[in-house]
Point group: C3
Chain length 265, copies 3
């Protein structure tokens, strides 16, 4: 059984090791996989995006432990979400919002209340080790979701990933992620922006820059122009990239910035 | 069988891969777990602390390979320490000092001298690959500790983790670690500083700053004050933290700095 | 079956998680091992060196997935190389050049053309997930190399690792890697530079600096002199190091710089 870990712990401290030790103590046969521990500290939205993009490559039954948890120890709840055949264990702060949004009405969320699955002494500062990892290990060893707590509906949601429709075919989209190569991931999918509209000449406006070119792959047309271009990225979203350069730096783009899809003229 | 790795190798070079390759070559069924490879280069004390904090989440029988080894190739000895039901393999430079201190008189340390467990050609620069990883793999495959070498008593110890008692109930403690969030971990445990003393108003003095507030969790009282506060951290030590900020930066604290616990007045 | 990963993805994004998810979906029993994900972006030569140095610690049969792939989506080919009893899957851009060079005429390279082993929809931007990881998983599950495509001879080669012989016993060598400690790895092996020549007083000239001392281990002669020295490194190459300092910084050395071995006078 696969248990993945996604945290904002970094890899320099003992935190990640502690999670793995707890899981392997409870279930020595679990396969523990790091997704990342480099989510910016306390950045729930970045964690939610990365989990959305990574989880779709994992098989049904995978258990994901997500710990981006600025409210640890406070009244924020701990949850177990079941979405798309996978399980997600972590704080109720929106971290699983995007995977639940994608699963739609099939998503089920439970409030983790059964303390028999927690570490004997739950610290106030490290629920990853004391609550989420033990729960994930118990799940991987065969415990049923209903044993952990009741279903709930009012779990915390982030703003929807869907872009907003504007006038006359315009779309108001957003940069939802900037990756290590400086590619700027928008929230536009092929549902909102068809290849036909692109072929008819739809353009993207980011700040005071207009992106007119859509490439098929990064090196497509390389050598021609240093201009940023758009490309369908591997997570299913339209990305703004630049030839062998960081589009984010070139266009001074940050996450959260608006991207306007102009109606074709 | 679990084999953990803690090094100062970083993750950009081939060193960590080489350790894993050696271990899995000798014992394909070993479960290799990274604790961290981000110990600052040559910082034995940082490695000792991180190993202390991480190892307590691992099950009995776990084998920990620690490689923070500025003296590699010199006359410094290689050791196998047995502490608290776990095994630790690495250089004799204090790296296992804290885990041995915690195990007290139950700690046993052996000098690794039996070259039949080493790589055929032991390089002068990479004992992680040529000595420690092969020894750990052999242990995980069932070799007995006594096969590796004789017990020894004069292994290298770091200064004790215990804080010093001062006059009239004062305690002279130390910052032993600063984590990625800027939390400053002291060497104070509940043995030295009881909750009763805290309730009676004991204060912590770091540099020219006095910390009066002890919180139960990080977000406790959040929104009220930007003041640093103390909190019992997940490794069992009192930490100095700041609300959604780095206490280390705020107080200009570094590892090694003194923290005075003033007697309650 | 061991599958290693070496990429320039960094560890902050979802890319590495996606590779692991794909592999474990196809073969839950694979042992997935990270070599590194910190190859500088698009730096094929750095990837080739790290793979050369790491792979020799892995057992026969290991499958290495290498993804440093600036040409992803373009006409560059995907290959499977068989060298020294191990398998290497990735782009045909020189990434496996050094391991093939070491294997000599025994190296076999195939063009990956059988799309039945690829992801159903191959994206134009993430062949790691859509081509290389699925191929590696299929190999680990028992597929035969010949099922993936035809052998080819004109795979992309980097400049040879071998240093050039100069006049009168001089050798023109190169810095091929700088590690995290600032050690500068040359392409000199004991084949080109015998211990006898060193004993007779061969010197290394890097920029305007002459290195005369060869040490047996890093701390050898420590305390004496801050002078850089040469040492046989763990990857089998002569390295230029400095006592508890970065030789690269001290000598202002970068990868690619020439190192002259002067004839003994």
């Amino acid at each position: 059984m696969i248990i993945t870990l996604l945290t904002d712990f970094g890899t320099a401290d003992y935190f990640v090791g502690a999670l793995k030790g707890v899981i392997l103590s409870a279930n020595p046969r679990a396969t523990v996989v790091d997704i990342t521990h480099e989510i910016p500290a306390h950045d729930v939205q970045a964690g939610a995006f990365t989990l959305l993009a990574a989880s779709e490559s994992f098989p049904a039954g995978t258990i994901h432990v997500g710990v981006v948890d600025p409210g640890v120890g406070s009244a924020r709840r701990a949850i177990l979400a079941e979405c798309g055949g996978q399980r997600f264990v972590g704080p109720d702060n929106g971290l699983f919002s995007y995977v639940c949004e994608r699963a739609g009405s099939a998503a089920r969320v439970r409030h983790l209340t059964n303390r028999k699955f927690f570490r004997k002494d739950v610290s106030a500062t490290f629920h990853g080790r004391d609550v989420f990892a033990p729960v994930a290990a118990a799940l991987s060893a065969g415990a049923e979701p209903r044993e952990f707590g009741e279903e709930m509906d009012d779990w915390v949601r982030l703003a929807s990933l869907a872009p907003r429709a504007g006038d006359g075919g315009a779309i108001e989209a957003t940069i939802i992620h900037v990756d290590r190569f400086g590619n700027c991931v928008t929230n536009l999918t092929r549902r909102e922006l068809s290849d036909e509209r692109i072929a008819r000449g739809a353009t993207l406006v980011v700040g005071d820059h207009t992106v007119r070119s859509i490439r098929r792959f990064y090196a497509d047309g390389a050598g021609d122009s240093p201009e940023p271009f758009a490309i369908w990225g591997s997570a299913g979203f339209l990305e703004i990239s630049a030839p062998r350069a960081s589009a984010a730096r070139l266009l001074r783009v940050r996450r959260g910035q608006t991207v306007l899809v102009s109606p074709e003229s």
